[in-house]
């Protein structure tokens, strides 16, 4: 099918974009989720605000150990970034599972976060890394964590007049290992389940699950247990304690164990 008619604006700056956002507008980032929704006519916005002309939203850099990713950074840029591969290996591992190469060429990091698909890889990896999400509107700016941003499947606490403009990722703790594992029927298909882990034995653990619930969420009890000396198996069991459905619990548990073991090296 073809998209329904809509008005189209392609602002050249964040300042120009902000006044255009509202309940009747849709933000077009990489288009890998919005355009299918338009084609299927599941989305019928009056106005499409295309961010692709906003160069100031496309960057990856590290300031004082904090990784800053502009919302319009392409997934392929994250995948190819040497900085990310060396210092935030969990993101490098996770992004390779996002769609296919043809999707990652256009797909953006901010788009994946704002779309909040419960089967998406980047929100899960970012949750495990305790990332913060910067939102801007004509009313000002605010910073939220994953727990506050992701409120349900395909649903975030972003207000209609807010723009997600940056993702801020704290430093990987010294000596941390990273692991990402997922199950999908074919490579690049939507994942049924998955897990992200970043671990320093005895001092730090970040674990988040994909497909275990409506939103990507950290498994805090498992993190604490792992820091306290639990095995990967024990931590994985704790991580999936409240997952509904025997099959899903078993699948998430196994993937969590693999991710933790990969992180432990």
């Amino acid at each position: 099918m073809k998209p329904p008619p809509f008005e189209y604006q392609a602002p050249a700056s964040v300042e120009e974009a902000l006044p255009l956002l509202g309940p009747d507008s849709a933000v077009l980032a990489g288009g890998q989720s919005l355009v299918p929704l338009l084609n299927l006519r599941l989305a019928r916005p009056e106005l499409v605000v295309d961010l692709n002309g906003i160069a100031e939203l496309d960057y990856i850099h590290a300031d004082d150990g904090v990784l800053r990713i502009g919302a319009m950074t392409r997934q392929v840029a994250l995948e190819r970034s040497e900085l990310v591969r060396e210092r935030w290996p969990l993101l490098h591992k996770a992004v390779r599972f996002v769609g296919h190469a043809q999707i990652r060429t256009r797909g953006t990091v901010g788009g994946s976060v704002a779309h909040a698909d419960p089967a998406a890889e980047l929100p899960v990896a970012l949750a495990a890394l305790r990332a913060r999400f910067l939102l801007r509107s004509p009313r000002g700016e605010r910073v939220v964590g994953a727990a506050e941003l992701f409120v349900g499947p395909l649903s975030t606490s972003r207000e209609p007049d807010e723009l997600l403009f940056e993702i801020e990722v704290p430093e990987h703790p010294a000596g941390a290992g990273a692991g990402f594992s997922e199950h999908a029927r074919t490579h690049g298909d939507f994942a049924t389940a998955g897990a992200a882990a970043v671990v320093v034995p005895g001092s730090h653990a970040g674990i988040a699950l994909l497909g275990a619930g409506p939103v990507p969420a950290r498994a805090e009890a498992a993190e604490e247990a792992l820091v306290g000396g639990a095995s990967a198996r024990e931590a994985a069991d704790l991580a999936v304690r409240d997952v509904e459905g025997e099959h899903r619990r078993a699948l998430c548990g196994e993937l969590a164990r693999r991710a933790i073991e990969e992180a432990l090296g």
């Binding site: 008619p5 355009v35 295309d50 490579h187």
Partner: protein, 160 residues
């Protein structure tokens, strides 16, 4: 909106609605029907073309977004009627039957082989995951991509 898109080196200036998909622009405005439209939701890969050299789904991009950019379609692989090594390898290895998916495979694999001139079989299989073929069972396609990679490396050596 007035847009100007370069397709296979030729400039097309057209008046389009914002909702026109790039895939439909290529087929109906540029008249290049080698690019096929399958699922129109980014799953099948039949509409894959290259945007400034990188593979994309043309059904997931608006034509207005391609203004000022360069698109390459399957017609651009054989500009003088002489088959590209990948096309020749697809022909020789029986990598197609009905052929509907083939332009998408070719445009994905041409970009892939530029980045990975010596791919391992598992890399080829992973790279093929973004294109669906309902006829061949993929073995011929894997064979064709490996054959083309060998031929293209040989051509580089001969060509210095």
């Amino acid at each position: 909106m007035r847009i100007s898109v370069e397709v296979n080196g030729q400039r097309f200036e057209e008046e389009v609605e914002p909702r026109l998909l790039l895939s439909d622009f290529i087929r109906h405005r540029a008249g290049l029907t080698g690019t096929k439209v399958g699922c129109e939701q980014g799953v099948c890969g039949a509409c894959t073309v290259q945007l400034d050299g990188e593979p994309i789904r043309s059904c997931l991009m608006l034509a207005v977004q391609a203004s000022g950019r360069a698109i390459r379609t399957v017609e651009g692989l054989a500009p003088n009627g002489e088959l590209h090594p990948l096309q020749r390898a697809f022909h020789e290895a029986h990598a197609l039957q009905c052929g509907f998916c083939t332009p998408g495979f070719l445009m994905s694999m041409e970009a892939f082989l530029r980045e990975h001139p010596e791919p391992r079989r598992e890399d080829v299989r992973e790279a093929l995951a973004g294109n669906l073929c309902r006829c061949t069972g993929y073995l011929g396609i894997i064979e064709a991509v490996e054959r083309a990679a060998r031929e293209m490396r040989g051509a580089d050596v001969q060509g210095g």
